[in-house]
């Protein structure tokens, strides 16, 4: 019974859906505030039901499958992508009591499941039989390969510092001091996930003005909704992962609860949106240069710093 609750309600499917609806609205409202617009306004208090309407509209629209594509590949990915995104929530310690899969390889599993997502989207680009989607697919692959190294390396820094890959142990071991030590790693991790999640300034793969909608171009209706759900599921997982790895997860100043995690995640979302609002998109070759000549070397330096900190500051063995 509890397992069923976990799968369908929290932290499973329903939670991800509610999160998608809420965060979509929150993104729009917050962006509108930065843009000096109003944003969603008419449906529900402060337009909060707008996303629900959008969702139901997308579900009721036809999902067009273009000619000359492999229909299995084309339709499989919109199912696979959100599944994998939602699957990842089992690893996160949501509350002090609730972690569905408590494994000593938590960090590794998390990194792998997050890292696999862009490859699925890359397949959509190849499966769409559209030149823009193809370009989007190539771009996503290029970007993923460039960002992956620093993403993995910086994700491993807390594991190295605390000497464990268990996410609960990492959360519990977190103190103000370790947060400070991990801060460079956290910044590197944040930049890398902007790349992995295709968020500005690294939203090169679905650069609307350049290659229409990149890998999304041919998707419509329910398929599009599922891909969007995957994207927001990714946000959920990645935000939660960042907070868990670097900023003490569910632990708060006065009490430990899911609420603390949630507030921290919203702060992170706002940070991401502020970056989105203030930076133009960079070019593919600039992204490559940035990733390989700055991010990757800095990630290695960060590892060295973590080792030094572990030996001399935290005082581990």
């Amino acid at each position: 019974m509890e397992l069923l609750f976990n799968i369908y309600v929290f932290p499973g499917t329903l939670f991800v859906l509610v999160w998608t609806v809420f965060v979509f609205w929150f993104f729009r409202k917050f962006m509108a505030y930065l843009h000096k617009r109003i944003g969603p306004h008419y449906n529900g208090p402060a337009g909060s039901l707008q996303t629900l309407y959008d969702l139901s509209k997308l579900l009721s629209k036809e999902s067009i499958t273009p000619h000359n594509v492999n229909p299995y590949l084309f339709s499989a990915i919109p199912i696979l992508a959100p599944t994998i995104a939602i699957l990842t929530v089992v690893l996160i310690p949501w509350t002090p009591e609730l972690t569905i899969v408590d494994t000593s390889y938590g960090v590794l599993a998390l990194v792998v499941l997050i890292g696999i997502e862009p490859f699925l989207l890359f397949l959509t680009g190849f499966g769409s039989n559209n030149k823009y989607s193809f370009l989007g697919g190539i771009r996503i692959l290029t970007q993923m390969i460039s960002m992956e190294t620093s993403f993995f390396l910086s994700a491993l820094s807390p594991a190295l510092l605390f000497g464990t890959m268990n996410l609960i142990e990492i959360t519990e071991a977190n103190t103000w001091l370790t947060t400070l030590i991990l801060l460079p790693g956290a910044i590197l991790f944040f930049i890398s996930i902007l790349g992995v999640l295709e968020q500005p300034p690294f939203n090169i793969p679905d650069a609307e003005q350049e290659i229409v909608y990149g890998f999304y171009t041919e998707y419509s209706g329910t398929n599009y909704f599922l891909l969007k759900l995957a994207e927001f599921g990714e946000f959920l997982v990645v935000f939660a992962a960042t907070i868990t790895l670097f900023f003490g997860g569910y632990r708060g100043l006065f009490f430990d609860s899911f609420l603390c995690l949630f507030v921290k995640m919203l702060i992170m979302a706002m940070l991401m949106l502020a970056i989105r609002a203030s930076t133009p998109r960079i070019r593919l070759n600039q992204m490559l240069a940035f990733a390989w000549s700055y991010l990757v070397p800095l990630s290695f330096l960060n590892m060295v710093w973590i080792v030094i900190a572990r030996l001399y500051i935290v005082g581990g063995g």
């Binding site: 962006m31 930065l34 843009h35 000096k36 617009r37 030149k131 823009y132 370009l135 771009r139 500005p200 300034p201 939203n203 090169i204 650069a207 609307e208 003005q209 350049e210 290659i211 229409v212 989105r276 609002a277 203030s278 930076t279 133009p280 998109r281 960079i282 070019r283 593919l284 070759n285 600039q286």
Partner: protein, 567 residues
């Protein structure tokens, strides 16, 4: 006028067959023998420094009762290196099928201009590299601007062309092969989020790098010039709104001013000042649109709103003044529909304040933004010589470091009395093209403030009621007023016989109207010298060897307006 004649004396001396026909305003119109055209143009370019080819067009003399020469005549308009002087060449075309020698080898801009003449009039240009249709559809039959082509005759054309007839020679010239070099052909447009209208550019991609490009335009061609031929001059003004719809008022003013210059009338000072204020406000709006859309193409969404909100305020002001937001049609030949409303100054100041803060906020966000600067600096640079060869005018030419602005070089409307600066760039890259526009907006606002401060009272229209509508009391109470109204509505403003080229510094560059009048109330011929048309011709050339992302930015920074380009 005397100086102008002295200037062209070498030409008349060198070629005995050339003949000064008459002056169009202060532009000398010189007739040239058909066979000598190429050598004369060569002489003009290399010896007399007429380096900027403005326009090529033709006149069909079929409906003229006593034509002085053959049915078709070609008109070439050149601008001198020092920019204040224009020279017009006229040559009679004996047989349109043999036509004349192409001058593409002398002026790169002639490529599309000659194609347009062939498309519209069916005059062949020998040795032209790709003489094919440009504005009309490739399946179109006949040549619409000929007088024996009925205005109302439409044609259904359905098949698109694959453009490989243009792409293949480009690839061959670069030694590229589709298969061997693994190139991918991609259509950027006609419906593409960044094509800002309906423009198709076919590019050959090597990875993400553009190796060759060819543009197809004409998706918005609606026969503006042909429609002019059965409308009175005042009826044409709403059509001019649709040329550059981002700064509609400016087109109104440019057209009205050209016709007024043809008739030799000058507006009362108040009318001129209102026109200056509205021109500069339109320039600000146009640049706001260009920059906002350009920045949006880069993914800088916030700047889009920061620039579009003040634009909206400006449109609110225009809507209060003219009754329309986008297509204002506020001007008339000899003046405008009505005076400024009471309290306009406060509204205008409010708009200016908001525009100013919008620009300031945007500049704050991008001016020292490393990503912004790295993205567009050294992208598609156009050198000064290249820009002139491409026929660039306006901000795009100034970005290349050429100090050409009609408001300085040939001031009209008291522009020489206003205190403002000429903005020039240095590299001619995308960055310069955008930053020149930012600075020009600030200069335009300086002009607006000065003009609004100094605006005199009095009439806005000229007093001649054969040209402007008489007041309604006169129409109802006097026979003269009644007759004036009747004649104006039914026959239109009578413009003296002759031809004229009027140039105007519009937001995008030199907007020119070449008008031929046969003395009646409707023009015999109107040709628009649209800056976007020539800018677009250069676009596929300057994006070569840059990336797709750069090409999008270049298109945004050139500010191609399809309504003006396709006419």
């Amino acid at each position: 006028m005397k100086d102008d004649l002295l200037e062209i004396q070498p030409l008349l001396d060198k070629f005995e067959t050339t003949l000064l026909l008459r002056m169009m305003g202060d532009t000398p119109l010189v007739s040239v023998e058909n066979e000598q055209l190429f050598t004369v143009v060569d002489f003009l370019k290399n010896k007399m420094d007429y380096s900027l080819l403005l326009d090529i067009t033709a006149v069909d003399n079929l409906d003229i009762s006593h034509p002085t020469s053959t049915r078709f005549e070609l008109i070439y308009l050149f601008r001198h290196k020092e920019f204040s002087r224009i020279l017009a060449l006229k040559t009679a075309v004996a047989d349109p099928d043999t036509g004349v020698e192409s001058i593409v080898s002398l002026y790169e801009v002639a490529d599309w201009l000659e194609r347009e003449v062939w498309d519209q009039y069916g005059i062949v240009f020998q040795n032209h590299p790709t003489l094919k249709r440009i504005l009309n559809h490739n399946e179109f039959v006949g040549h619409p601007m000929r007088k024996d082509y009925e205005i109302t005759k439409g044609q259904y054309c359905t098949q698109t062309q694959d453009m490989m007839d243009e792409m293949k020679p480009l690839l061959d010239a670069r030694g590229l092969e589709m298969e061997r070099d693994e190139l991918m052909i991609l259509n950027l447009g006609p419906s593409h989020p960044a094509s800002h209208g309906t423009i198709r550019t076919l590019v050959a991609l090597d990875g993400e790098t553009i190796r060759a490009g060819a543009s197809e335009i004409g998706y918005l061609h609606r026969g503006f010039e042909k429609s002019c031929e059965n409308h009175t001059y005042n009826q044409i003004i709403p059509y001019t709104d649709r040329l550059n719809y981002c700064s509609a008022l400016m087109n109104n003013i440019a057209f009205a001013k050209t016709v007024e210059d043809m008739m030799g009338i000058t507006l009362p000072d108040r009318g001129i000042f209102i026109r200056v204020i509205l021109t500069e406000l339109s320039r600000v709006i146009d640049h706001l649109v260009c920059l906002a859309a350009g920045l949006l193409d880069m993914g800088a969404q916030t700047n889009y709103w920061y620039l579009f909100n003040p634009r909206n305020n400006a449109y609110d002001f225009l809507s209060k003044l003219t009754g329309a937001r986008l297509t204002n049609s506020y001007m008339r030949i000899g003046g405008m529909t009505h005076d400024l409303y009471e309290g306009w100054r406060a509204d205008l100041d409010d708009v200016l304040k908001k525009v100013d803060s919008g620009i300031a906020q945007t500049l704050q966000m991008i001016q020292h933004n490393r990503i912004y600067n790295d993205r567009i600096q050294n992208v598609s640079p156009v050198s000064a010589e290249q820009a002139i060869a491409y026929g660039f005018t306006g901000p795009n030419l100034r970005a290349s470091g050429v100090a050409y602005d009609l408001r300085f070089d040939k001031p009209y409307y008291y522009y020489d009395h206003f205190d403002f600066d000429l903005v020039v760039g240095s590299q001619g890259d995308t960055y310069d093209r955008m930053m020149v526009r930012f600075e020009e907006m600030l200069q335009s606002m300086r002009i607006i403030t000065q003009a609004a401060d100094e605006i005199p009272g009095g009439e806005i229209n000229i007093a001649d009621h054969r040209i402007v509508m008489p007041p309604k009391t006169a129409v109802y109470n006097t026979i003269e007023g009644m007759m004036n109204q009747f004649k104006l509505v039914y026959e239109g403003v009578k413009v003296p016989k002759g031809e004229y080229y009027g140039a105007f510094e519009a937001a995008n560059g030199e907007l020119g109207f070449y008008i031929v009048s046969d003395g009646s109330g409707t023009p015999y011929k109107v040709k628009v010298r649209a800056p976007s048309f020539v800018h677009m011709a250069a676009y596929p050339k300057i994006i070569e060897n840059y990336q797709v992302a750069d090409a999008i930015m270049t298109l945004g920074s050139l500010n191609i307006i399809a309504g003006e380009m396709d006419r």
